[in-house]
Amino acid sequence: MLLIYCPYCEETRDEDEFSYQGEAHITRPLEPENLSDTEWGDYLFFRTNPRGLHHEMWQHTVGCRKYFNMTRHTVSYEILETYRIGEQATVAPASADSATAEGAC
């Protein structure tokens, strides 16, 4: 079970208090009507699935109820940072190297 630092509460709490909310930094297009079906479909359905560093969104569901972002390693489950909505990650996104990170199968 993960230990998660809520960047709003500024406390480290148990995973039980949080819920996963999918990939972070998916921006809603400003003018959906001007997009083709393919472009809109990309926004709707396509997500990265990296083996390595992943930016994802969580909600402190039974805490402050704030959504925030997290950079997490999907193999080791190490959490490198959590940061508020509107802020950018300071740890670089998944590179080709991290895609071959060792891990259990």
């Binding site: 230990l3 809109w40 909600q59 109820r65 959504y67």
Partner: protein, 1004 residues
């Protein structure tokens, strides 16, 4: 008769006799015995039958690794399957049963399979039992019975279990010499320490050693060290506690067996407790497991691990035989022979695979007159129900071939030692891959930032080194936990004399004169009867990956998870593949380390405490009036209110007719309610609903449908404008939490510039729906400050007023199609309001109705229920609700763009229609599939399915809602609903609005 019990010695309490039974036979043991030591003391040789061949099996080990002595304790609901007799403490009245062997361990019909063994190669189960497929069920039944997998308790578990959350600076797993030292040095630095050990008594190897510490028996030092820990209030000692899993971020699960050793009658409180520990730092001191050497017929009862034999002798005063042959490739095992000799038993010989064995250990044995036969291997055991002799032969220097004639040596107990395998299970759970060490001849914990290992669990086998390493690692652990260690008084290491160990030889499989495939069976995994030959065969058949070989041969699949045999199996596989063990690698270890009781994991979260129950303020009234309940999420809602003698359908018919003909009352308090405020509230609500709320004035309500971005309906409900910048949003009962998160998501992530605030007020209000032609008359009796006239209080208006003396909000909205008022008062007045409404409605025959009648009434009107008529793949257009979608909204509301996607906009999507059967009393089962042609060959083309279906008392016939491909263009056509029993229910596609299609009834 404890024929194998020595007159003195061991840590048992001889003045406390304990009577227990095994397979119905009563025996005597002593307090402090395990079931295994007591069985051996009583001369019990056979404790089970093997999985595949039905061969008799005896106790091999003394700890968690025991593969054969798997027992079931007790009978009935408290029965526990799959316990290792080596880990069960005996208590008075204990009843144990062997789980394998059918019909009994001594007469085993399965033994016949041993004769046909050559027809049962690895993969046998895949190759044979899976075909023909329909026989698998009966095979499986037989296999379970034959394999000894125990049986499930036959009732609800009567025992109590609980859970505890724990935090500590340092968790030390294993209270052997290294673990105790680590706990001591960590605790001396002031750390909060938990020390957990799976045994009843802490001390690990010190409990069975004859090595003296500080010139005295080891237990004296042990008692002193444990006393120090006990006296420190920052240290928690958890004996009888198995750390079964190491999860993310230093979260570990420990199951403490609090009363299993007392028996059911003496137990009080929780039987087992799950400790959920979050540790700042973990020290693994989980020890090592001795490896047997694989040789022919090595499963004959009486063949044991050298260390286990030493443990039974030194700790329990039990000698399961008289004449010992010890087979080893290392110095460590010599001590067992020396102890055996000193206990007055005969050591026939020590067979050492090393031609040059000449160290301190050899000298010590030789000085006692023990015959040490070097450069030899024990290649085969003789005997069936018990070992009678062994065959030994000279071998070459690298122990791969027999190079001389055989000698037959009579004996009645055999001990073997192939070295020690560190217990890397927990380290492996934590994500660190075990690494093969040529020096240790075992896998050691892989490098990990978070985990420290000490003692034999990392391959340090000398006692002195373990005691020293523990101190050092304990110190590192507290530092890693952020605690200063300056000037602490480190625990001293006791003086001891330890022989210098000569280097051990890598020996996993003893060579035989015949090739492995032709030699008598050489067992690698006792529990699943996996032999060296079957692993070699797997390699020849192309199984190169260790994970594949594991699955093909079933090696390590038993309840012991291959603790004893896996390393030997890997070595044999590596040899067969012509590669190193390091290249071959190991399989992944997963929790649990030993089997865990589900009861402990569930704890108190069972029965009524499994999930919270939510009740409305009117709950007791419903209960008093005989409500049957429907669970809606966590809510208890009245389903219907049967009167004496009424069946469900009778009650529902009566409730529905009361609403249609006079007046009914429904407890609608469970509907989700979200209070929304802020200058941008209307803009926000307009973005998340399909229609617009920008021009909704105070006093008015509007129904909306909420879509996910993919255009699919996920909630619906009415939103009322309470005042300037103030709204109340009703959600479905089940969708309330999800809707709140959804609103917060968009406000926080995409539109933080919108000033809007959400508060869940579901529990703050009690809601009674008064509905039916007489609803107005009922309300008028209780409320004088609201004008209920049609003109003054229109459909989709709401008013604030005083109802039965209570401040109330009254919403004129309708889910029945009748004149309806939803009266909301603060929750605590709920029951009072309800009783006042019932009293006021008495003259009109006001009838409480439940969710079933509510469903029928709304289906008569074609109103959808999200989650019943929709399933996450339905758009508003699919539900024939295009009217609810705003076409001219400035902002592209959530889901709007998706409604124009090619797939969402196509013509033949499944659309909501009504179905009317040709036989008025036939109610089509919900979920029925719909086809066009009843005579179509199978597979028929499915046209859709039935989503809601009821008998309508008001209409006098059954009604159904269904989604049918292109259904809105097919009104009047006939379709069929094929049933499992072959019946074809014929129905016409009709409008989904069955009752009062013009909507005159609510507009009065």
């Amino acid at each position: 008769m404890q024929i194998n019990r020595l007159p003195v010695g061991g840590r048992i309490e001889r003045d406390k006799p304990v009577y227990f039974s095994f397979d119905g036979r009563t025996m005597l043991g002593y307090q402090g015995d395990t079931l295994a030591s007591a069985l051996l003391a009583n001369g019990v040789r056979i404790v089970g039958r093997s999985f595949k061949y039905g061969r008799p099996r005896g106790i091999v080990a003394a700890g968690a690794e025991e593969p054969n002595a798997i027992v079931q304790l007790g009978q009935g609901a408290s029965s526990v399957p799959n316990l290792r007799a080596t880990q069960v403490e005996i208590y008075s009245g204990l009843q144990a049963y062997s789980v394998s062997g059918w019909p009994s361990v001594n007469v085993d019909l399965m033994a016949v399979t041993d004769w046909f063994a050559r027809f049962m190669p690895p993969g046998f189960y895949y190759k044979t039992f899976m075909w023909p497929k329909r026989f698998w069920m009966s095979y499986e039944h037989l296999i379970r019975k034959a394999a000894g997998l125990g049986w499930a308790p036959d009732g609800k578990d009567p025992d109590v279990y609980d859970k505890m959350n724990q935090h500590c600076d340092v968790l030390v797993v294993g209270a052997g010499p290294a673990g105790i030292q680590a706990a001591r040095s960590a605790s001396r630095a002031g750390a909060r320490v938990i020390l957990a050990d799976e045994q009843a008594e802490m001390g690990g190897s010190l409990l069975a050693t004859t090595t003296e510490l500080n010139g005295a028996p080891a237990y004296q030092w042990l008692e002193h060290a444990l006393a120090e820990l006990r006296s420190n209030e920052r240290v928690t000692l958890l004996p009888r506690s198995t750390v079964f899993g190491y999860y993310d971020h230093n979260f570990l699960g420990i199951i403490e067996r609090r009363s299993d050793h007392l028996g059911l009658t003496n137990a009080t409180g929780a039987r087992q407790r799950l400790h959920r520990v979050r540790a700042k730092q973990v020290v693994l001191a989980s020890g090592a497991i001795e490896r047997p050497i694989v040789f022919a017929n090595n499963d004959v009862p009486g063949v044991m691990l050298a260390s286990a034999l030493g443990t039974y002798l030194n700790r329990y005063g039990v000698v399961p035989g008289k004449r010992l042959v010890l087979f080893t490739c290392n110095d460590g095992a010599y001590q067992t022979a020396v102890d055996w000799h000193k206990a007055g038993q005969q050591v026939v010989c020590i067979v050492d695979s090393r031609k040059d064995a000449s160290g301190d250990a050899v000298a010590a044995a030789t000085s006692l007159g023990i015959d040490v036969i070097k450069g030899h291997a024990l290649i085969e055991a003789v005997g069936r129900a018990r070992v009678k002799a062994v065959k030994i032969a000279p071998i070459n220097a690298d122990a791969t071939a027999v190079i001389g004639g055989l000698r037959n040596i009579p004996c009645d107990v055999v001990a073997s030692s192939g070295g020690w395998s560190p217990v890397v299970h927990l380290s492996s759970h934590s994500g660190a891959k075990p690494v093969w060490s040529e020096q240790v001849l075992g896998f050691v914990p892989g490098a990990s930032a978070a985990v420290l290992s000490t003692g034999s669990s990392k391959g340090v086998f000398d006692l002195r080194a373990c005691l020293q390493d523990g101190v050092q690692i304990g110190l590192e652990a507290v530092q890693a936990a952020g605690i200063a260690v300056d000037g602490i008084d480190l625990p001293a290491c006791p003086d001891l004399v330890e022989p210098v160990a000569q280097v051990q030889q890598a020996l996993f499989l003893a060579p035989h004169k015949k090739p492995t495939s032709r030699a008598p069976k050489q067992f690698v995994d006792y529990q699943l009867d996996v032999t060296a030959a079957s692993i070699e065969l797997a390699a020849r058949e192309g199984y190169r990956s260790v994970e594949h070989t594991k699955r093909y041969t079933a090696m390590g699949f038993g309840t012991d998870q291959g603790k004893l045999g896996n390393i030997n199996g890997l070595a044999i596989l590596a040899n067969a593949l012509g590669q190193s063990i390091a290249e071959t690698g190991t399989t992944v270890f997963r929790p649990s380390y030993t089997p865990s009781t589900y009861g402990a994991i569930a704890g108190r979260d069972v029965g009524e405490l499994l999930d919270p129950v939510r009740c409305t303020a009117v709950h007791r009234w419903h209960e008093e009036h005989g409500a049957e309940w429907e669970n809606v999420g966590q809510w208890k809602r009245p389903w219907y209110f049967p009167q004496p003698g009424e069946a469900m359908q009778d009650a529902v018919n009566r409730e529905c007719l009361a609403v249609r003909n006079s007046v009914g009352i429904l407890d609608a308090s469970t509907l989700g309610k979200i209070d929304i405020q802020g200058p941008d509230a209307a803009e926000f609500i307009t973005r998340v609903y399909t229609n617009s709320y920008l021009k909704l004035p105070p006093g008015k309500c509007r129904y909306g449908v909420m879509l996910h971005e993919d255009g699919m309906i996920f909630d619906d409900g009415v939103t009322a404008c309470l005042g300037e910048n103030h709204y109340l949003m009703f959600t479905t009962t089940g969708g309330a939490a999800g809707v709140l998160s959804w609103l917060e998501l968009w406000q926080q992530t995409e539109w933080p510039e919108l000033q809007v605030y959400f508060t869940s007020v579901t529990d703050h209000w009690s809601t009674a729906t008064v509905t039916g032609p007489n609803a107005r008359r009922v309300l008028e009796k209780l409320c004088t400050d609201i004008d209920f006239s049609r003109q003054a209080f229109e459909f989709m208006d709401w008013r604030e007023g005083t109802v039965a003396g209570l401040k109330a909000r009254v919403f004129r909205i309708s889910f029945t199609g009748e004149l309806s008022y939803e009266v909301n008062v603060p929750a605590h007045y709920g029951r009072y309001m309800w009783e006042q409404l019932i009293a006021a409605g008495e003259e009109f025959g006001i009838t409480p109705y439940g969710t079933e009648a509510m469903h029928v009434l709304r289906a008569e009107k074609g109103f959808i229920i999200v989650g019943q008529d929709t399933d996450g793949s339905m758009t508003p257009q699919d539900m024939n609700m295009d009217w609810v979608v705003g076409k001219n909204k400035a902002f592209s509301f959530l889901g709007k763009r998706s409604l124009a996607r090619s797939d969402t906009a196509r013509a033949n999507r499944k659309q909501l229609v009504g179905l009317k059967t040709h036989y008025p009393n036939t109610v089509i089962p919900e979920g029925s599939q719909i086809v066009n042609n009843p005579n179509e060959p199978i597979p028929m083309l499915m046209q859709g399915h039935v989503t809601s279906s009821y008998f309508s008392a008001a209409l006098g016939h059954s009604i159904a809602l269904a989604v049918v491909k292109g259904g809105l263009q097919r009104l009047g056509e006939t379709v069929y609903c094929p049933q499992a029993d072959g019946e074809m229910i014929k129905a016409d596609i009709v409008s989904s609005v069955f009752y009062d299609p013009e909507g005159d009834r609510h507009n009065v």
